[in-house]
């Protein structure tokens, strides 16, 4: 099972012959991801060195390969266009790696692509360890298992996952939802999927200061997640109020968005919040049995 992607997911790469696209295509193939082709307008009919066919349009690629998943490596100005093209071609899930897509482009995209799951933009992607990696994550850090993981950041996710893996907690699926103001998939969307995934037995939610995703997640957990322990984490708790730190999402505004608000929301939902990433495996250990490597 896992969520969003599994080993049968057929993936195309939008921007497969670009620098980033080409590099990560090889990394994903090495991980075992079923990359069935890619798209670069004007290069249709060719193949990349590792043998995957290149198409002019996503529609052509989907028709020829039966792809259901897409990963997008295009410049920011072409991000919305790539997502709409994926939607138009019937792609079920699109991972958008591109950073810096205008917020208004995403605003329009997320409100006009009903039924397609978009992960990102500005995200590291999604991995169901041992099955498939659709993203730019370092696959070797992850290990197959029963912990679902969702995070707003990239490298902090690797830090946390590394700790989980070393402590014997493998992962069902890890989703990096991205740090932009408007993203396709929220914590709540992931929690809903994890709640229905029999393979996932515990969940780690790695949030950040700013926005209200964590508060929304806490409310959802309180209402809908039973029988699966959830551990929370809030990055940036030491950040000064109002200072913008890398992620546009991490601006503290009003009363939601503060670390206090988020910790309180989690507490009310019965979710223990780890003070540091290294505490997460400890909190998990009292609720779920680790599986020795």
């Amino acid at each position: 099972m896992a969520i969003f992607v599994d080993k049968n997911s057929k993936v195309i790469v939008q921007g497969i012959t670009g620098r980033e696209g080409a590099f990560h295509t090889q990394r994903m193939l090495a991980y075992g991801t079923k990359i069935v082709g890619g798209v670069t307008p004007g290069k249709g009919g060719t193949t990349i060195e590792s043998g995957q066919p290149v198409f002019d349009t996503v529609k052509d690629a989907v028709e020829a390969t039966g792809a259901t998943h897409s990963i997008i490596f295009v410049p920011p100005f072409a991000g919305a266009d790539a997502l709409w093209e994926a939607y138009d071609a019937g792609i079920a899930l699109a991972v958008c790696i591109t950073e810096g897509i205008p917020a208004h482009d995403m605003l329009r995209v997320v409100n006009t692509t009903p039924g397609m799951r978009i992960i990102g933009g500005n995200c590291p992607g999604v991995i169901s360890p041992g099955k498939s990696l659709i993203g730019i994550m370092p696959g070797h850090v992850f290990k197959e298992g029963n912990v679902g993981m969702i995070s707003r950041s990239g490298t902090l996710t690797y830090e946390i996952v590394d700790g989980l893996t070393r402590a014997g907690f493998g992962q069902s699926t890890c989703v990096g939802i991205g740090g932009d103001p408007i993203i396709g998939t929220t914590f709540v969307d992931c929690l809903r999927a994890f709640a229905n995934d029999p393979e996932t037995e515990a969940i780690v939610v790695a949030g950040e200061i700013g926005g209200s995703d964590e508060e929304d997640a806490a409310a959802f957990i309180k209402e809908h997640i039973t029988g699966k322990p959830v551990i929370g984490f809030i990055g940036g708790r030491s950040a000064p109020k109002g200072k913008r730190l890398g992620h546009a999402g991490a601006i503290i505004s009003g009363n939601t968005g503060t670390p206090e608000s988020k910790v309180k929301a989690f507490a009310e939902a019965g979710v223990p919040v780890a003070d540091r990433p290294s505490d997460i495996p400890k909190l998990l250990a009292s609720r779920l049995k680790p599986v020795p490597a």
Binding site: A103, S212, G246, R276, S278
Partner: protein
Amino acid sequence: MKLMEYQGKDLFRRVGIPTPSGVYATAAGDVASYIAAHPGSWVLKSQVMMGGRGKAGGIKFADDAQHGEALARELFGKVLKSIQNPDGEEVKSLLVEEKVDIASEAYVSIAIDRAARKPVVLVTAQGGMDVEEVAERDPGAIEKYWIDPAMGYSPFIGRKLAFDAKLPEGYRKAFPSILGALYTLFMDYGANLVEINPLVLTKDGRVIASDAKVELDDNGLYKHPDIAKWNKEQPTDDDQAAAVAIGLGMSNYAKLPDEDGRIGSVGVIANGAGLGMGTMDAVKNAGGGAANFLDIGGGAQADLVKKSYNLVTSDPRVKAMFINIFGGITRGDQVAKGIVEALAGDDVRKVPLVVRLTGTNAEEGRAILAQAGFVPVETMDEGAARAVALASGGK
């Protein structure tokens, strides 16, 4: 990108939102000649980014050209200070505007609601003051409406909000079209926020945007090169400029303010904003404080690592540095090479350094560091504790 009032009003006029008559001036003489040519009562409004310019003495009233010129001379070059902005901001330009007879003041704004992923409109009949204040004191007085971007704006939205927020009757006719124009601005120029506070109903029945607050999404600025170049006319954030200068994104570097009398003394470099924040947290958890924060992003090469080292140590508060790398796309050997190169140079200030290096090519990186006589730490917590100790003079 935050716009100044006169720039926001330029956009207002482009989309058809009524603004007071007036002129933008950068010299006292221009103020005088404008008032001389247009007798009446005028307001001189300092054009600054900071809030609270009225309390800080940045707004003056003049009834004739001579008085106007004197007030303008007083304002130009003046440094306005507020609680939020203790360093102050120098007045370099003024907006001279007709003094309108106010019958009523309302508030209207459109912002992106991240959670709903829709533009949200806020309207209240209690304009002219901080909307956060209204929200706290009388939350029921603020009406909200989430616009579906697929459907877009339609006048019923403005009608409904005007009725629900109980705007005085004089607003009713003009409000739906003003809100429509504001939505056009919000969408067409890619704004994070557009705000009119106050939206004035004058005694002679006009509805006018008396102030303008516009914040545009930097990522969408390339679509509006004419506006993007306004950026150059504005005070730039030094940190942003420094980051861009070495090839990073605008928000990849930030000096952190000293808080509660405590001075942060650890320089932080990490790959990724999330890990960077985590690293700052770890420094704090270890009993110290970060002086700044630099995100070298993904896939950094040695040269960038070297430049980043130099930038971070250019902050004199930095007494020790913690470089925390979790290699994904970023390769440990490249980072290690950059560190060694940075330390080899004579042109930089060197501070005690703690390096944590794991993930992609970590072994190779550690080998390079070892060759330079340097032993990295194993974990983030360990590194933070070490850096804090070094910053406070420990070993």
